[in-house]
């Protein structure tokens, strides 16, 4: 029983982290329709910026996180304006090459500036201990991740379906020409969507820093995982990403606890099975590259 509770908590925590990081990638791939294999870079930059703010600027945990997210969002905006927007109409393979190039440069930059060790984000005393939930004690950090993840989900739901911004985004995505003819600037929306995705990834990087450690090769290490969430969730399907992240983390976490000898064969076999029956993702999505 204890094991099940542990699996559940770890699984939801990891799943939330994956969701927050991967949702931006789902939007990029499915709605903006550009391939970005360097997405993990935004997650690790979030972690690095937060570490820097805490260590060098002596910020507290929360202010550091906020600063880091702002910086990461800016980085995303810059990359979109300077590089990605130039290849929107090019072939997917060109986009693959560009994003791999960006990923390499990003890794090299992180390694040169921050060194090749692992950076830890020291938690404030409030968040470092366990929290008594009655039936068991849960590390506060886990609860933080789950709460933040939940807040992100809620915020996205509200923004996407309730606000004018969300409606306009959907219009731009579905019918770019028509949207532009009624005065919606699609370039602005692509830039904003891309930047927001980057910022969220940064948040995810900070939240997940304990399980997905902040080090230069982070973007390559977790690339397959992020892509898996997007593929299984369906491109551009935000709620699908949530479901997929939970599913993947569930399979991986259970596998780690219950069948460690199989390694990650189970996760990959599950992915293979899901995608062969539902190539548009478990929950459906856009057809894309």
């Amino acid at each position: 029983m204890q094991i099940l509770a542990s699996i559940a908590i770890d699984s939801v925590t990891y799943g939330m982290t994956l969701f927050v990081i991967a949702v931006g990638l789902s939007v990029t791939l499915g709605l903006i329709r550009v391939v970005n294999l360097a997405h993990g870079l935004f997650a690790v930059l979030g972690g690095y910026f937060a570490w820097y703010a805490m260590t060098v600027w002596k910020f507290g945990y929360v202010p550091a996180a906020v600063a880091a997210i702002v910086l990461t969002t800016t980085a995303g905006l810059l990359l979109e304006r300077l590089l990605f927007s130039r290849v929107y109409r090019r072939s997917a393979l060109d986009q693959v090459l560009l994003s791999i190039g960006i990923m390499f440069v990003g890794i090299a930059a992180c390694g040169a500036v921050f060194g090749d060790g692992i950076k830890t984000l020291p938690l404030p005393p409030l968040l470092s201990g366990p929290v008594e939930l009655g039936f068991r004690a849960v590390p506060a950090q886990r609860l933080l991740v789950i709460t933040c993840g939940g807040a992100v989900v809620l915020a996205m739901w509200l923004a996407y379906s309730r606000t004018k911004v969300g409606i306009r985004l959907r219009a731009v995505v579905d019918h770019t020409d028509a949207a532009e003819s009624i005065g919606i600037d699609s370039r602005l929306f692509y830039a904003v969507a891309f930047a927001l995705g980057a910022g969220l990834a940064g948040l995810g990087g900070i939240l997940g820093a304990e399980i997905m450690q902040i080090e230069p090769f982070y973007p390559t290490k977790y690339l397959v995982t992020f892509l898996a969430v997007v593929a299984i969730g369906g491109l551009g399907n935000i709620w699908g990403s949530l479901g997929a992240a939970m599913l993947l983390s569930g399979v991986e976490t259970s596998s780690k606890y219950l069948l460690p000898s199989l390694g990650s064969i189970l996760s990959y076999a599950a992915m293979l099975a899901v995608l062969s029956f539902r190539p548009h993702g478990l929950f459906g999505g856009e057809e894309g590259e």
Binding site: L97, L98, E287
Partner: protein
Amino acid sequence: MTQVHSKRLAPLELAVPLAAAALWVIAPGQLGLLTQIATTAVVVLGLDVVVGYAGIVTLGHAAFVGVGGYAAGLLALHVFAEPISGLLFGAVAGAALAFLTGFVVLRGRGLSLIMMTVAVAQIVLEIANKSRKWTGGDDGLSGFEVSPLFGIFPFDFTGKVAYVYSVAVLTICLFALRRIMRSPFGLTCVGIREDRVRMSAMGCDVSGHLRLAYALGGALAGLGGALSAQTVQVVGLHSLSFTTSAEALVMLILGGTGRLWGALVGTALFMTLHHVAAELDPFRWMFAIGGLLIAVVLVAPSGIVNGVLGKVELWRERRAGL
């Protein structure tokens, strides 16, 4: 991007052994690197068939490379060590795995297809990792020797025989592929890449054909893996890794897809740069390669070879007044 010319095929593949001979004279101390470039080029040629001609984007090609390598290594270790049989065994292993997984993998499109190729490669990697008895696991498979080529030329530490052997295999593969991709088979691959629906409407069994193209790519990957195993005399889990798949794809796109020559140019450029920059720390090398990739995408659309040939074609058409 691809063309089927109606003129007789000029023996351009002879440029490969000629260049190889020149390089031997210029850089006799680099035979090891040059051999590696040749064996990798065989793999990337196969990837061009799959990605460039048939339009199947894959990040799991390493599965076939590794399977070919382990097959050749195991054959040499347990059965007999004749090199050419090892090559064929590796090619068949790669082709078989590709053909079989093709039934599942090729049902996907776009990202789901890519992720399925990744999944297959990762599963093969994990299986190889767990089967220490056969594959040596983390330590890799070694201790097998390769018999002298044709019974006459031993694979010694100077690497000369290995070099000539690899270049010869590469040249033969290039020759064969140039013919195959100009045949109705190759033309059909291009048609499917451009428009599957139209091909279906013209009577083509698209999924059957794609499986064959995928298997051909797998055969070449297996061949390259076997060649590498024989010339380096060790096979490791790295040959099955995501990095290997990704690097092969990068080499191909860099050089240019759908031309076969792009595979050679991209492989040579990437691996040379890797070798030179690896003297520096790993981060400098990534900086250099990353910068190169970004520059190529922004400056030479569709890769180096296509960029150059595109300009040549434009010039030719203007001259012919078309």
